[in-house]
Structure formats: C-alpha cells, structure tokens
C-alpha cells in the first residue's frame, strides 16, 4: 500500500487553524446537556429524498438544532467540467438535478452560446422546442415534489396519481431524446434531433388529459383539512430570511417575492409567452409556510401548462417543421470561446440555477466551471426553519423545500 508522499503531518496538530471549526463542532456535540439527545436522521431516511444526513439535537420531541451533513452524492461535477469540452459536459449537467435535466442543460447551453455570441442566431423553432421540453420537465419535477410531499406527511394517493401523470411526460421526453430521465437533448447551438413526427399532437392530447387531473389533485390535497393542519403555519420563512439565505424559486416566491428569472431576465422566448408568476398568499396560515410552498408549485404547474399550449400552437403553425430544417446546423464543431468569465442564470423548477465559466484562450476546455444549485441554498436555510419545531414537523418542512441531493452535492 503506497500512501501519498505529501506531508500532511501539520494537519493533525491540535492547534491547526484549518481544523479548528471541526474541533469546536466535536466539542459542542460532546458537551450536550443531560436532557438533550442526538438523533441521526438519514443518510438512509425516506423523507430526506436521497442521501442527506441531519443530525438533530433534540429535547424530547422538540428539535433544538439541526446540523445538516451533505456530500454523500458528490460526483465531482466541477472537476469533470474542467477536464472535458463544453459539449461533453452537458450529460453531466443532466445528472445534477436529475428530476429536471432539460432545464439544467438549457441553462448550461445558454451560457456557452452567449459566450460564443450565437445566442441571437438560434432559430425560433429550436428555442420553442427548448422551452416546450423544459416546461414539460418542470411539470414532471413539480409532480414529484407534490407527490412525495404527500407521502412524507402520510397521504399516499397523491403520490400514485402524480407518478401516473409524470409517466406520460417521461414517455414523451423519451420519445424525443431516447432517454427517460437524463436526456442530453439540448446541445450548444441546437438540439440533438428535431421533435419526432406527431409529437406536437400527442403532447396536445396529454395536456387535454392532464388539465382535469390537475383539478382532481387540487381537490384531493390543497383544501384537505388534514393536509392543511400538517402544513399551515409550519416552517414559516419570512421574505428577508429567504433572501439572505439565497433561497430562490418556489421557496422565495412562497414568501411573497415575485422573482422569476424567466420574467426578470427574459431569456429564450419567454418574453413572447404569456404566463403569470404565482406567489404565496398566506391563505391558510402565515405567509411563507409549508402550505404556501406547496400551493405555489401547484399553481406553477398550471402556468407551465399555459406555456406549453402556447408553444404547441406556434410549433404547429408559423414554426411548423419543414423538410430542410436541421436542428444541428449551428452546432459548432469545436467550441472556441475567447478567454473570459461569464455567469449565466436561469429559472429551474427549484430556483436559480447558475453556471460560472472561466474560459481559456485557444481551448475548448474551460478553466473553471462552478455550478450554483438552487437546492444547495434552499437546504441551507433548514437549520433556521427547524429551530424549536417538533420532529414530525421537521419532516413536513424538509419535504416542502423540495431538495434534490444530486444538485446539493453535485
């Protein structure tokens, strides 16, 4: 066994400043009071939606403090991204928030296209197809959020209904891209393929099928008295705390801030599309509670359906498929970006997804790519939300944040 030759002896010295915080943390856990108990929730706990470990310092049923431990799903996205070219990184972005792969690659591709200066030349049909598949994926992601949220707090039916409807979306996206969840469909400068023939009509059929199902789901959960008593006034997140912790997406909007990057930045073809931005109302309890976060997601599904209808209308009329349409016409053979740095942000189902690129001259491999995952920020507010709540409510709060560990750990 050959160990590393680098000298790390200094790392084990007790007065090492870089290990100081770890020692403080260990001493803090060793010195808990006699009435307190440490409980580990996770990394294999169903309500953590993946591999998240929460260390709870409890007093009876009350949670005094939550210490999240993340990193169990760390797959070195940033290190990978700086060892291969931009096109090859797209499948890795799919694996960040694996419930919304289309949205991830859309954000990444948008950043590269802007650095190349080709973002204005992308044909309208391609942009509309991108928005269409992204919104389908947004619905699928929110359906999982709602369904698993139901199961977290004891309602099994919504889970089955949501997964049944999500399956239709998965099938359609599989038809377009060849893969169920990790698509690699949106490419720099274009698309992998044009939509399959008849995709538009089948998608229209799905929308007609889905609209009444959404009403049913709404009736089942939104006004359900048991559901309301589990979620209203629980985990209230004031707007200033949400902003300070960098929360975005439904998490921030549920606290009453109308902040949606699709409208704020007006990227892609969103300025041509009509849709509203749902915000929390505090209808059942206080503004920014778990129920509000749930409700914002339900309303966003409705808005996504509207966006899809408008996309389909344009894709079947003025942007109809033509025989000579090549979705790869603008795909560069080699991405030659001049040395610069660029931060791109886009609205993912979970919030602001950002990529920060530092490029180097005469190379199609970036020097540094940093990914800003919305779930990472949304999860960081959990210790604040969970102070003094019951353990059962902690599950309700965690579910309402809707984290995907693939994106937290990257």
């Amino acid at each position: 066994m050959q160990l590393s030759t680098r000298s790390t002896d200094n790392m084990s010295l007790p007065d090492n400043p870089y290990r100081h915080a770890q020692r403080v943390y260990e001493e803090r856990l060793a010195a808990i009071g006699a009435e307190e108990m440490i409980i580990n929730m996770g990394p294999q706990h169903p309500s953590t939606h993946g591999v998240l470990r929460l260390q709870l310092i409890t007093d009876g049923e009350l949670v005094k403090e939550v210490i999240p431990h993340i990193g169990y799903l760390h797959r070195c996205f940033e290190k990978h991204a700086e060892s291969m070219n931009y096109g090859k990184t797209i499948p890795f972005t799919d694996r960040m928030d694996y419930l919304a792969s289309m949205n991830n690659s859309h954000a990444f591709v948008m950043g590269v296209e802007r650095m190349l200066g080709i973002d204005q030349q992308i044909p309208k049909r391609i942009e509309y197809i991108r928005v269409l598949v992204c919104e389908l994926n947004r619905i699928a992601s929110h359906l999982i959020a709602i369904g698993t949220y139901g199961i977290d707090i004891g309602a099994f039916t919504p889970f089955m209904w949501c997964f049944r409807d999500r399956e239709h979306i998965m099938n359609m996206l599989e038809w377009a891209s060849g893969s169920r969840m990790l698509y690699n469909y949106i490419w720099v400068g274009g698309l992998f393929y044009d939509l399959p023939v008849d995709f538009e009509s089948r998608c229209g059929e799905f929308i007609n099928y889905f609209k009444p199902k959404l009403v049913e789901l709404d009736e089942l959960l939104t006004a359900n008295q048991i559901f309301i008593s589990r979620t209203a006034n629980i985990g209230t997140l004031p707007a200033d705390v949400a902003i300070n912790y960098g929360c975005s997406g439904p998490m921030l909007r549920a606290s009453g801030i109308k902040w949606d990057l699709r409208r704020v930045d007006n990227y892609s073809v969103y300025p041509e599309i009509e849709f509203d931005i749902p915000v929390g109302s505090g209808e059942m309890g206080s503004l920014g509670d778990c129920w509000d976060r749930f409700k914002v997601r339900v309303d966003e599904i409705r808005e996504s359906v509207r966006i899809i209808e408008q996309c389909l209308e344009r894709l079947t009329r003025e942007l109809k498929r033509t025989a000579d349409f090549d979705p790869r016409a603008l795909v560069p053979k080699k991405v030659n970006v001049k040395a610069q740095d660029y931060y791109v942000r886009a609205e993912n189902p979970k919030g602001e997804l950002g990529f920060y690129f530092v490029t180097q001259e005469k190379s199609d491999i970036p020097k540094r790519v940093k990914a800003r995952g919305p779930s990472f920020h949304n999860l960081s507010v959990l210790p604040e939300l969970a102070k003094g709540v019951l353990i059962a409510d902690l599950v309700a709060i965690l579910g309402s944040i809707d984290i995907v560990l693939g994106e937290v750990d990257r």
Partner: protein, 166 residues
C-alpha cells in the same frame, strides 16, 4: 451595465478611498476587483445602500488562477432584487500553494447568511481560508480528506481508509 459599474465604483471610492477597487471590463460582464481587507465593509455597503440594495448573493466561486500565476481569485456574484441589478466582485490573493499556508480572505457570512455554505465549499474543494467564518468545516468531502481537489496541482492519494480511490 458599463454605466452601473462605474456608478458603483464611484460610490465605493467616495466611501473608502481610491485603493478600494478597480474595474475589470474585459469580458461580457465587467467586474470590480476589490481590496481583500475592505471586502466585508464593501459588501455591507452594497447590501444596505439605498442606490444598490444588493440583497441576494447568487454565488461564490473560488478560482485557481494556475500554477504560474501564483494567485487565487474568489468571485462573488450579487443580485439586487429591488433594482434588478447584477454585479460581480473579485478578490485576488497571492499564495505559494503550501498546504499549511492557505490563501486567506475575510468572510462575508455576516453580510449574507448564504455565504456560510458557499465559503465552506470553497474551503473544502479549493482550500481558501475565510477569516471570521463561524463554522469553517469541510462540507462535501469527509472531514479527514487530504488536499483540495479543485486545485490545479492536486494529486489524489492512492488510498482512503483502505479503499483504493485512484
């Protein structure tokens, strides 16, 4: 964008003097390169000033500038929700890459709470030390991991607790 950054630059100079920041406008997004010693005060001013209100910290990225450059850069992406502005701040610190002498930058976790986890990540993966951080433990990697993987000169160990990792 150009105009906004010169306005903010003038604002900072009026408050802290000439040496506080310089404008770097090479790429698509111009940035302010800030004096590391003044970083927390600059951030606090930008957050609370009535003309800027940069209340939202989007991202903190630590960048290894390369072995020849001998510097590390920490990049802060700010957004102002009331005004819909975006701003990039950069801090450049020279460093000799020794593992017992990490580049050191003042923490801004007192200005934006979200900086807490971001700075832990930068410490964990890039080995940048943030002075005044309340809880600077490793976040993604195990606490007994050796070295900082995103550095350009990182070499992974052969084994970790008896598990081959190379």
């Amino acid at each position: 964008m150009e105009e906004l950054i010169t306005r903010i630059h003038a604002l900072l100079i009026a408050q802290f003097g000439e040496q506080v920041a310089t404008i770097e406008s090479s790429g698509l997004q111009p940035a302010l390169v800030v004096d590391p010693a003044l970083l927390p005060q600059v951030c606090l001013l930008l957050r609370d000033h009535e003309d800027t209100y940069f209340d939202f910290l989007s991202c903190i990225s630590a960048v290894d500038d390369g072995i020849e450059a001998g510097t590390f850069t920490v990049v802060y992406h700010l957004a102002s929700i009331p005004y819909n502005y975006q701003l990039t701040l950069k801090v450049v610190v020279p460093n000799d890459r020794r593992l017992d002498n990490l580049p050191s930058v003042p923490s801004v976790s007192g200005v934006w709470r979200t900086a807490d986890w971001h700075e832990r990540e930068a410490f964990d993966l890039m080995g940048v030390y943030f002075e005044g951080h309340p809880d600077l433990r490793r976040i993604l990697l195990p606490e007994d991991w050796e070295g900082y993987p995103l550095r350009k000169d990182y070499e992974e160990a052969e084994m970790y607790h008896g598990i081959a990792i190379k």
